[in-house]
Amino acid sequence: MPALPLDDAGPYVAAAYLVFLALILVYVGIMAAKLQRIEREVSELADLAARRRPGTAAAPADDDDRTREPVESDVR
């Protein structure tokens, strides 16, 4: 077949690259949902651990934990 003119070829090229973008976005979205689930499970486990040992203080930070993100207990 002869080469398609730019006006006709443009939508096909755009569609191909949009499919790629959509695939990546869907994948990232699924990963984000999984991350949320992990976060929720961490909260549940933290609550459970607190219920099991009501008098226990939080564990001290590791030596190599200098660059950690602020957590809820830091804010209080």
Binding site: M1, A3, L4, P5, L6, D8, A9, G10, Y12, V13, A15, A16, Y17, V19, F20, L23, I24, Y27, M31, K34, L35, I38, E41, V42, L45, L48, A49, R52
Partner: protein
Amino acid sequence: MFGRGLKFLSILTVVLVIGAFALVFFYAPNDADQGFVQKIFYLHVPLAIVALAGFVAGGVYGLRYLRSGDNAHDLRSYVAIHLSLILAVGALITGSIWARASWGHWWVWDEPTLVAFLIVFLLYACYQPLRFSIEDRERQARYAAVFAVVAGAFVPVNFMAVRFAQAAVTHPRVLDSSDSMPGEMALTFLLCLAAMALLFVTLWKYELASKHASIRLRQLRRQLAGDDDALLAVPRSAAPQEL
């Protein structure tokens, strides 16, 4: 464990993917024969090559699992195959769009390269159901590793069979013709291939880190569970659940 270096890798991947696509549209010349629609080549071919390489990598990790019994290799194999399937879907759809624009058909059944790729895709589409059908974790990992090794060996054999069987094909042969590509096209193609490979590695590491975190959480849950059976319940899954 699996998340080391992810920040640097992510930045490098974004830069390389954007750079490669910029070269596609602003540097590489239009193909004399196909015109602007040939730009799909820079996406479709790296997707297909990286997907096939990912399937082979899944087989290599499957073999390492069978030799060592290390569940981390089973997880690596599982994630590599999972990601390769996603890229293969991308290769099939973009290839179909390109075929429609170039040949006037979405799919051509008498074209061996297309059918061979579809066979490989359908073969690997059985991987997750196979894993899900086996409840025992050890058997699941072992059978999945055997599948990954056999199917991984089938990928290059299939590829070579298509090459040797056909004298005249419609589908372009990139690896044969890369020497005759103009310098700008070859450079752009190689950069796109590198970007896609890096994207694969980055997403592979992201998913490994996510799965590893889930597995560690489950182990913690088990340690904290005590007599609480509700906390010990592990949902049936195709993904590895132990490390």
